[in-house]
């Protein structure tokens, strides 16, 4: 089920006209939405992603690159809580690849969201993601997570957006608000017309929204639009400002905020997503400016740019304000952590391409950390380097409690956070959802650092299997490559049966443990 959103928009307009509504046809110069795979009546989204070296347009410039479905503007996968995504990864490249479904709270086992599986050249990989009924709505993304090739492949184009419907269910007053996906990425310029063989974060690049160079985004004065911004660039931070335009943060990393948060600048780190409400300003043109960025003395410097232009015109519309209650999210600071750990994210002294966590390079054959299902842990992430790092953990969300030792206001969970240069970030991580049982990774999401080794393997196990799992850490843990058969062989236990379509905590509520 793949179609271009304009068709859907035109169909909606026709329906609206038939109904006598006064909706105007979107102007031709408006930002084009990505192509979309959406779900059927049973909630199943069937997706085929063909990864191939293709001739594409990056903005207005022709390049040959590694992309999905012959388009630099990768398709959007739409799903819903309780839904299923059945995905075929048709690898027509001459190199291996795989997929990670960033931020999604789905099982890493078997054909789920496992980065330990790869799809060889000219092979087809299968993924089945079953979203729990209470899966958080909002923007997610998929991308290559092939170790030591991820930066190159994602920079080329092997990444795309996922949207889990449901945020309008949390705020029914937004039912008629126009929703947009703005997929941000940068492509390194080359003289050869091909994807750069080596990615240099500070090199001149083409910044695009939905693959378009400096597009126009139309809005009416007073109109409220819901924008989902996805940073699917490999390494870069996006610091976006629209002067004179009111913006309200609705979710970060697909976790709805717990109170009203107004913003005048959006800081979207590598892998981060935000959903914002944008209010149409007085008629006129308003540039979306991307600020220049500096990630520290040992980091990268890259130039600012004009990303696009917001054009406010037409008949004024009524502004929609949030009137519903914000979702109640448990503040994990009320929980006593079962474990406190510290992770040092450090650059190598002698090799600019090597990065460590606690002095270790990533080794896909080992497990570095074992956690009991049901525990809430406090992790302090220390950065003794003179450049930013960007922490991300797969399969779950966490709460940021401190940055540089100072308390952080709780506005909701997230799945990635920066670690300040010469600083620290403290997070509380709830390993409570049985759907995460299995093996996955945490790492710096500046992919140059991730590929350089700043990544570790974690296994989340049932409490009764903890001792056995720790013993097997050097051999890859109890799950092997996240295959149930390996798990059974290593434990002799019962098959893991995470509750289908539900993310209920196993055992007592962590909040009730103390």
């Amino acid at each position: 089920m793949c179609r271009r959103r304009p068709l859907r928009a035109i169909a909606l307009v026709l329906l609206a006209c038939l109904a006598g509504a006064a909706l105007a046809d979107p102007p031709a110069d408006d930002l084009r939405p990505p192509r979309e795979f959406t779900y059927d009546a049973n909630g199943v989204t069937t997706v085929t992603l063909v990864a191939a070296k293709s001739k594409i347009l990056v903005g207005n410039t022709p390049y040959t690159s590694l992309v999905f479905n012959d388009d630099y503007d990768a398709p959007l996968i739409r799903t819903r809580p309780g839904g299923t995504v059945r995905l075929a990864l048709d690898n027509r490249m001459d190199e291996m690849t795989n997929l990670h479904f960033h931020g999604m709270q789905v099982s890493p086992l078997d054909d789920g969201d496992s980065i330990f599986r790869t799809t060889g050249p000219h092979e087809v990989g299968k993924y089945v993601l079953r979203l729990p009924d209470d899966h958080s709505p909002g923007p997610y993304w998929y991308h290559s997570h092939f170790h030591d090739g991820a930066e190159h492949q994602v920079s080329g184009g092997l990444a795309g957006p996922i949207l889990v419907d449901g945020i309008k269910d949390q705020f029914p007053e937004l039912k008629d608000v126009r929703e947009r996906a703005l997929v941000l990425r940068n492509f390194q310029k080359t003289f050869t017309g091909s994807l750069a063989s080596e990615i240099v974060t500070g090199a001149p690049s083409i910044r695009t929204i939905n693959g378009q160079f400096q597009p126009t985004i139309r809005i009416r004065p007073g109109e409220t639009q819901l924008w989902h911004l996805f940073n699917i660039a490999a390494n870069q931070y996006f610091r976006i400002r629209i002067d004179g335009v009111h913006m309200q943060l609705l979710s970060q990393d697909a976790d709805t905020v717990v109170k009203q948060v107004d913003v005048d600048e959006m800081l979207i780190g590598p892998s981060a997503r935000v959903s914002i409400l944008v209010t149409g300003p007085a008629p006129g043109s308003y540039p979306l400016t991307l600020g220049s960025a500096n990630t520290g003395p040992a980091g990268d410097t890259y130039a600012g740019a004009l990303l696009g232009t917001l054009v406010s015109s037409g008949e004024p519309m009524r502004t929609v304000a949030i009137t519903s209650a914000y979702p109640a999210v448990r503040d994990l600071r009320k929980v006593t952590p079962a474990h406190r750990r510290r992770f040092i994210f450090q650059d190598s002294d002698s090799d600019p391409n090597a990065f460590f966590i606690n002095g270790r390079q990533f080794d896909i054959g080992r497990v570095d950390t074992t956690v009991k299902l049901g525990d809430v842990e406090e992790w302090t992430l220390v950065n003794p380097s003179q450049e930013l790092h960007q922490f991300h953990i797969h399969q779950l969300d966490f709460q940021v409690t401190k940055i540089n030792g100072k308390d952080i206001d709780f506005i909701g969970y997230r799945d990635n956070v920066f670690i300040p240069a010469l600083g620290s970030t403290t997070v509380l991580i709830p390993f409570t959802d049985p759907v995460i049982l299995g093996k996955f990774v945490y790492h710096c999401h500046i992919m140059e650092h991730e590929d350089g080794g700043m990544m570790q393997v974690i296994q989340v196990v049932r409490p009764e299997e903890y001792d056995e799992a720790v013993k097997l850490e050097p051999l890859g843990g109890i799950y092997g490559d996240n295959q149930m058969c390996t798990y059974l062989r290593n434990t002799g236990g019962k098959a893991l049966t995470p509750p289908s379509n539900a993310s209920r905590p196993l055992g007592p509520e962590p909040g009730g443990r103390p």
Binding site: D94, E95, M96, T97, P121, F146, H147, D148, G149, H152, A196, S197, E198, I199, V200, T201, G202, A203, P204, Y237, R239, L267, G291, S292, N294, T295, G296, P297, T301, Y302, R342, I344, Q346, D349, S350, D351, P352, A354, F356, N358, G359, R360, Q361, D363, R366, T380, V382, P384, Q386, I403, N404, G405, K406, I408, F418, P420, A421, L422, G423, S424
Partner: protein, 376 residues
Amino acid sequence: MKRRAAFVGMGLALTLAGQAQASNGRYPGLGMDYSTAIQYDFSSLDVPHQPHTVTTNGYFDITTAVHFRLTTIDEIWVGSEISPVTDTRPGERRWLGGTGLNITDVNWYHQGYVSSFRLGKFDVPFGRAQDAAPGLYTSDFVAPYALGGMNGGTYEYRFFTDNWGTIAPSLSLYAADTSVLSRSFLRPSQQARRSDGGATNTGKLNNAAVVVNWRAPAAIPYLEVQVGYMTNHKGDVSAASPTAANEQMRVASVRYMIPFVATTDLGPTLAGRYLDLVPFVEYVKVHNENGVPGFDTKYLTTSLTFDAGRFAYGLTHTNKQISPSGGPRSNEYLTEASMVYHVTGLVDLALSGGRSRQGGQTSGLLGISITLNGSF
């Protein structure tokens, strides 16, 4: 022996390359990092009762590191540098003169889970001033103990505990390169010979450096300490070095990084509104420097770096105390103030000025360089 070591390294590497399969993503693969600098040096030599002698030298300094990737953790590194390989004469005005190509590295590099090694031609990891101290000229001043282009191998193991931080001892065994790779290419030059003498020129892996790097735990963050000991055998006694002696060195250095703006926000960093202060001190004691009997030296480098967004300001002073046996003690020094402006993510503009005293002569120094960094 060193040739054999290099060939063994290459042979192992080729064996590994043969085992790699074309389907393994980007392996085997090829990449290259480069740095292209154009630099202009201006030095004014002060000789008492004589007019100043002004020497200028404009040149390219192009360094490349080609990586032949065998697996995600194994590479063959080939490093080269195109730069002047002959010194200017006092009073000379030189532009693009004396340029040659040197092969600086050819080694098998392995970066494992908790250990790493290099095997082949490599820089001995001993001392940090050559990299850590700001300025254009300090690295040359401390070159006598920053040994580069040696043949042999180095192995490092990283221990980490939450209480002790990262402790990384390393052992290097090496000898001076007298293979064809020791000569400069693109201009007439001579291959190094065993008869040239000098410390490490032994043809055997009987020269060693033991270094321990400590990166302090989170309780004392941003502190880095290095201590090390190096022992180099004298080269063959010859007409060039009739009274050679073994060389020993000891090094201790401390580097600390102090962030001045500890914010909870990401914005100030991205906007370049930060200030880090980085003091660095290194002390090196050398006995029989370069195998010259009785030529004992002590180097003390102190530096301060201010990193402020796109700018980095540096002050470095290195004092070299020379204590020849039976002779009077003397001091040489280099003091430089420097500034680097990161013009773009790839282009740096550097300016450095200072004063040095070497060989009984005092000079004023001024240098400017523009560097383009990148990769293919």
